[in-house]
Amino acid sequence: MIRKNWWKLLCFALLMYTCIMGFMVKIPVLDGRMQQSIRNLFFHVPMWFAMQTLFCISVFYAVRFLRSQNPVDDYYSLEFARTGLVFGILGIVTGAIWANYQWGKPWSGDPKQNGAAIALLIYMAYFVLRGSMNDLDKRSRISAVYNIFAFAMLFPTIWILPRLTESLHPGGQGSEGNPALNPNDTSPEMEMVFLPAIIGWILLSLWITSLRIRLRIITEKKLAHE
């Protein structure tokens, strides 16, 4: 599937659709809340979908690496984590811009903002851990172990904890909806843009990662021949 063209074309089409319709689609008027800033839904929320998808794939390859001891699996795991981190940072930045207009300041210590920041710190620690070791085989093995452990500690808490606490985001205690969106605030027209946006951004993240993996495999091969 990686080498085929159709999904890259699909990604391009979906993102063009998102970028055009995201600014054109009719939005519901919500008694003074949100207003036009709700259009950020098509850009901010898919970043988290992409990040979580990539981190899940990264862990999958970490497990596979421990079973196979094949260095290629380690490159996959590493690059998926790297792109995931980039999308996480984009998610935080787009969220901060939105929050600046919506809640008055870019960072208000909301449980989901904190959870996202913790996720980014954990995956940055993953790269620090990788950087601290020189032995290649040991580096891959230990970082795979940390990747699995960190994933298992992080995701239950960021999936469960924000639902138990009060939050400015949707989906907290006392606010409606799930952590991704509040169904009462969206219209069917918006959902027709939101779903393609999620798929489009996830495909883009996979595309970027596949390019990085190919680059890394070529670089490693070249280094091995020298």
């Binding site: 040991k138 093995r141 699995i148 500690m153």
Partner: protein, 221 residues
Amino acid sequence: MQSNSYRHIITLIKKDLLLEIRQQYTFYGVLLYVASTIFVVYLTMGEPEETVWNALFWVIQLFVCVNAVAKSFLQDSKGRMLYYYSIAGARDYILSKLIFNALLMMSMTLLSLFVFTMLLGNPLINIFQFIGISLLGALGLSFIFTFLAAIAAKAQQQAALMAIMGFPIIIPQLLLLGKIAKSAFSSVVQAGLWQMVLLLVGLDLLIILLAIILFPFLWKD
């Protein structure tokens, strides 16, 4: 086989305990650490309010845990590790470390709770509930940091890496603990308390499971 590995675990814990009693290094070192930290807090703020008390308690538990547990894999040299490997196996080894560190950390928590109430006053209404919560917290903290110490020991740079890897991972647990612990300061029953306690217990079980599965990969060199 089952009873065999059980015996191995007991022996390894006994060995750790014996080392502890002979050297009296970790225990008294950490004890002094606890006492002096709490004394500094006492000198700077006297008797704090209950929310500050709660927050300080968990932060100090965190640092005590990093100090107490980080040493556990440092003592054993490479040659000795090979020896343990040949007689006991990776799973028994990590289980014995987990149990030993949990015991160490629980006693540390009880001691620091005692010093806390002595110096910083006692705002607790349900003291037994708080003891239970802090023991549960000690268990979770010691499990996570034991496993991270094992990773950091392999990566050589002990102290710095422990903090970098451990603090982000531990934040969700500490938040949960702080929230649960709030219930011990008032006589009002908090909503969703058992849900959070169950979540914590579930996390602890998950850590044990992961440690048993993943430690053999760390171990072999």
